[in-house]
């Protein structure tokens, strides 16, 4: 394999990791309240801006890595409390409108207070150092991002599968009435899933800024949409599905850009959404999704 191809695959895995981090939250939120949350991508942007602010304030990087997910968690939970709790159980179309409104509101508040000028963002230099991985050299950050992603995904999955609170969240996502009758606190379970989703998206935002060097208030929307695509490809409601969907999408996008003649590179999003249509034609419930009817 040529070095060029290997580098492209690594780029794809990095981008896929970021999609996966956002997609997990997307999937959890849909799973628990059946809400397609178009504002979810904006938590990525909030994570990125939080990171820049903290770095400018002179905080050490390890602390930044701890605070960003905490801020993401609080932001996710807060958005749920303010905007989405009131419409819980409303028809899906109401959800669409409200999540889009929240997305636009968040973006414009950021534009209002921070301005539209893109800001530079850079990780410390050792993140960019190249390390030898067999015959090829890889930037440190391209190892860190997929590694951290997989650790966070596995932790989230383990939390949802094995802990008391995680099981309660799955119970709520399956049958709210029965969950209430067991005394499970529904509001807390829903808020928690928004919080976890927000924390993961904020970490993705931190990585996004560091990897691509620039951040702006509208940066979250397209990654949010693509994470939605990743979620659908993987099968909505499944955490492993969201991760696989993220990587499939990231790799496909980079390989389209990298391998096709350069004049097609500008059309990368065409191929992304074409892939979505193809997957849905062959497997309407995504790669890992279960038929909704099977839940009866």
């Amino acid at each position: 394999m040529s070095d060029y191809l290997i580098q492209q695959i690594i780029n794809g895995l990095t981008l896929g990791s970021l999609y996966a981090l956002v997609a997990i939250g997307f999937s959890m939120i849909y799973g628990i309240v059946r809400l397609v949350n178009f504002a979810h991508g904006d938590l990525l942007m909030i994570g990125a801006f939080t990171a820049v602010g903290l770095v400018q304030a002179g905080l050490p990087w390890p602390l930044v890595f701890v605070i960003v997910p905490v801020v993401g968690f609080l932001a996710g939970a807060l958005v749920e409390r303010i905007a989405f709790r009131a419409i819980r159980g409303a028809p899906m179309i109401t959800g669409f409108i409200v999540t889009l409104s929240v997305a636009i509101a968040i973006q414009n508040l950021m534009l209002l207070f921070l301005g539209g000028q893109p800001r530079n963002f850079s990780f410390p230099s050792w993140f960019r150092e190249r390390v030898a991985l067999g015959a090829v050299e890889v930037a440190m950050i391209d190892l860190i991002i997929p590694l951290v992603t997989l650790i966070l995904a596995a932790t989230t999955y383990g939390f949802v599968r094995l802990t008391r609170l995680g099981k309660a969240m799955r119970a709520v996502s399956e049958n709210v009435l029965a969950a209430r009758l067991m005394g499970i606190p529904i509001d807390r379970a829903v808020m928690l899933s928004f919080g976890i989703g927000g924390a993961l998206a904020a970490v993705a935002g931190l990585f996004w800024g560091g990897r691509y060097g620039q951040i702006d208030p509208l940066m979250g929307f397209l990654p949010g949409l693509k994470a939605f695509v990743a979620t659908v490809i993987g099968g909505v409601g499944s955490i492993p599905g969201a991760v696989v969907g993220g990587y499939v999408l990231g790799l496909a996008e980079i390989l389209v850009v990298g391998l096709l003649p350069s004049q097609y590179a500008g059309y990368r999003d065409v191929f992304v959404f074409l892939l979505l249509i193809l997957v849905l034609l062959v497997r309407p419930h995504g790669l890992f999704g279960a038929l909704e009817e099977e839940r009866a």
């Binding site: 099981k167 799955r170 049958n175 009758l181 067991m182 005394g183 279960a290 009866a296």
Partner: protein, 241 residues
Amino acid sequence: MLSLQDVHVRRGRTHVLRGLSLTVGEGEIVTLIGPNGAGKSTTLMTISGLLPVSEGELQWEDGDARLDLARSSPAAIVGAGIIHCPEGRQVFARLTVQENLELGGYLVTDVAGRRRMLHEVYQRFPVLAERRGYPAGSLSGGEQMMLALGRALMARPRLLLLDEPSLGLAPRIVEEIVELLQALHRERGVAILLIEQNAMLALEFAQRGYVLEQGRIVESGSAAELGDHPRIRQAYLGVAG
């Protein structure tokens, strides 16, 4: 133990319960029969705190513990030992049998007690022990009913609210369920408030009964009295005169 006094409940624009009063004593089996739409399920949902009460009193007394059910959250009501087995069983289909049972004991914080209870449930319902690792959705209707009962048992009920436990089950399975409930009542002293479309079955199983029509109690008495009442025989037992 449980007493409802002149309870009114509205759902949307419909005035469903119109001054309903009933009591369930310690360790008693009471049934509520009545036509569709009379408000039977609404009564149970009101007791478990799922619906707001517009008027009336709902009191719970268990030893020294007292609870005003009209002003309590579903979680507090579950915590007091009033456990509602809803219509249609409502098991968590994609969770395993064991996870369903664990969630039944969600509010039981004492780990050793929870483990003991799980052990007891598996003894009472051996079929659940055999299938503990399978998703609940893969169980048959009768097994799902047992799971719903086992899940209720995990919360250490003092009063079980049962909504149509025989619905959609074969007569042989229903018999088995009734035997399990009787054992539960005998051995643990659990009180039961039962809604059942099969009024014959309900009056055989219960000690006392109420007839609910249009949100009000229209008859009450021992199960034997109700079973002999000409109007009830005609309306609910399908016996002429």
